[in-house]
């Protein structure tokens, strides 16, 4: 339904939010990753007192500072957009969304802001131990910040720990810990932060290999590569593990997203995982009878294993979820999408009745309407959909984005393993091909993190809040032209910021690390 809101407004509002989030996510993961790498470098300096580690840490700290300065506050625009472009959503989520963001703003931001000053201004002014603590606390602040943002995002994917209050029209938190530590939040936090570590490691290895390619600052570059590739390999392996946990969790909480990611229209027991495949562009609807794939290579029964921890487990496809009738893990029978739509419409009608009866002072009838609303509330958002097919997210972008992310995740493991071997066992400065590969790998790191978010966010369409509020009901009734205009303003602003960051970073990279006489002499010998 959502008949009085144009598709164009929804599309432009979504595009604007996606653009802002995508740009924001260029800066954040590098902050998270560089914080760990430079923290480890400074720790070695603290332990050994060796000045070359201090100079190494300071160089990466400078790049961290540039990225931090350019990236700081881009997230604020996202918060503006919640209030302006998604005002119904903003009110409807109530304190569920507000509490984590408030904690993020107060605790994490001030922690970052305080210790980042000590980190940059405190060399030679505070003790080595206090400076080291400040460096780690800056990174910890950024990570805690990410935690609360991801808690808020996870609640949208898996709304738990709240009760809807039809008097205030807000969801009210009844269990803070259920919100803060839901499986979805924990898995998303680990997976997202680790992806930032991988990106930071890819960045440091890539930039260091540029120095080796240019035959300069060899000792510094090799030191940096050893630390970053170690972080990168550990993070990439853990990323594979959390990716598996993430898929298992999505299978439980968002089965339609999993089906879209796999291009799985008809499910069953012992379902295989599509390793490589080409979707059939002629397939336009879930029930048009067209084959889903032009070609595919499957790993037999792997999807069942990943989704249910049983090689013969049942995984519903898009058609199964729409038709319903299969047994859910809790033993109940899945409703069809049409039944959910009917119950959603009933919930919205009950809401209207409740508020009207309450205003009229008919307490008994209002109470009955409220009871009906609460019974159908889990399907509230379905009431805005006009047909079962609207519950299906875009399959193509999810299918391909997921494979790009997973294939790159596997590539990073191999990449870091090779880099570590050559850094520790061979003279890595002689492997010119590797220097080129490492430089090319930097943008691949960004592509992997971006595709991860595409899967997370496009995969949950049409929902802003899973099952409770679709994008069409959440969006503000703005003029399309206004949203389109601000979209282009943001596009220009963010692009200018990105160009500024890249320009400043390249200038500082070309300058290289601070030099000491011993370093110059070592490099000349090398």
């Amino acid at each position: 339904m959502v008949e009085n809101i144009s598709g164009s407004l929804i599309d432009w509002s979504r595009a604007q939010f996606a653009l802002t989030a995508a740009y924001h996510w260029l800066f954040v993961p590098l902050t998270l990753g560089l914080a760990v790498v430079m923290g480890l470098m400074e720790t070695v300096y603290y332990k050994t007192g060796d000045e070359k580690w201090k100079r190494t840490a300071r160089f990466w700290m400078k790049l961290f500072g540039i990225n931090f300065a350019v990236g700081v506050a881009t997230g604020l625009i996202l918060e503006f957009q919640f209030g302006t472009n998604w005002s119904n959503y903003s009110w409807f989520v109530g304190d569920i969304f507000g509490a984590p963001l408030a904690i993020e703003g107060i605790v994490a931001f001030f922690m970052e802001a305080t210790f980042i000053a000590v980190m940059f201004f405190g060399w030679n002014k505070v003790s080595r131990g206090f400076h080291l603590a400040s460096t780690w606390l800056t990174g910890l602040g950024a990570t805690i910040s990410a935690w609360w943002i991801l808690v808020a995002n996870s609640w949208m994917q898996d709304p738990v720990g709240m009760v809807f209050n039809p008097d205030t029209m807000r969801n009210e938190m009844v269990d803070f810990w259920a919100v803060a530590t839901s499986d979805t939040a924990v898995v998303k936090f680990l997976h997202t932060v680790l992806s930032g570590w991988v990106l930071g490691a890819v960045f440091v290895v890539g930039v260091s290999c540029w120095f080796l390619w240019k035959r300069r600052d060899k000792a510094f570059a090799v030191r940096s590569i050893k630390v970053a590739a170690s972080v990168g390999l550990v993070a990439a392996l853990l990323l594979a593990w959390t990716g598996d946990s993430s898929a298992y969790n999505v299978a439980k909480t968002q089965p339609m997203k999993l089906a879209a990611i796999e291009g799985l229209y008809e499910g069953g027991n012992g379902i295989g995982l599509v390793g490589v495949g080409v979707l059939n562009p002629s397939k336009e609807r879930w029930d048009d009878g067209e084959d889903a794939f032009l070609m595919k290579m499957e790993i037999p029964r792997m999807l069942s294993l990943l989704a249910t921890r049983d090689m013969d487990g049942y995984v519903p496809g898009i058609g199964d979820i729409i038709r319903g009738g299969y047994q859910l893990p809790d033993g109940t029978t899945a409703l069809s999408a049409q039944e959910k739509i009917e119950r959603g419409r009933s919930a919205i009608a009950s809401l209207a009745d409740y508020r009207r009866l309450r205003a009229e002072g008919d307490t008994a009838a209002a109470s009955a309407a409220r009871a009906e609303l609460m019974e159908d509330m889990p399907y509230f958002g379905y009431g805005y959909l006009s047909a079962p097919g609207e519950t299906v997210p875009p399959v193509g972008i999810n299918f391909y984005s997921f494979r790009v992310m997973v294939i790159l995740g596997g590539y990073f493991i191999a990449f870091f393993a090779v880099v570590l071997f050559l850094a520790f066992k061979r003279d890595i400065s002689r492997f010119r091909w590797l220097h080129v590969v490492a430089l090319v790998t930097i943008p691949l790191g960004y592509i992997a993190t971006q595709t991860g978010w595409i899967v997370a966010e496009v995969g949950r369409q049409p929902w802003t809040i899973q099952d409770l509020l679709p994008v069409g009901a959440a969006v503000s009734g703005l003029e399309v032209g206004s949203v389109r205009t601000t979209f282009f303003i943001f596009a220009i602003l963010f692009t200018v910021l990105l160009i500024a960051e890249i320009g400043i970073m390249l200038r500082e990279i070309r300058r290289g690390p601070e030099q000491a006489a011993s370093d110059v002499s070592n490099d000349k010998k090398a």
Binding site: A69, G83, T168, I489
Partner: protein, 72 residues
């Protein structure tokens, strides 16, 4: 004693900002960005939809109407 601590913190920051080189460029960038976000975008391009609805009860009524009418 307390004043001494405050003065030392003040001097710490003052010296830090004074000795900035690259940092000055970054601060200019940050200030320009905040100006664009808070002054230009916030004032001219971000209408306060819910703010127009008055107090919390008014906002609840506004959102309830929106959510009910969107289905009809």
């Amino acid at each position: 004693m307390r004043n001494n601590v405050l003065v030392r913190i003040y001097r710490f920051y003052l010296d830090g900002f004074r000795s900035m080189t690259l940092g000055r460029t970054l601060w200019v960038l940050i200030l320009v960005k905040l100006f664009v976000m808070f002054v230009i975008l916030k004032l001219f391009f971000f209408p306060d939809f819910l703010g127009r609805a008055g107090d919390d009860a008014g906002k609840a009524d506004y959102v309830a109407n929106e959510l009910v009418e969107r289905m009809e």
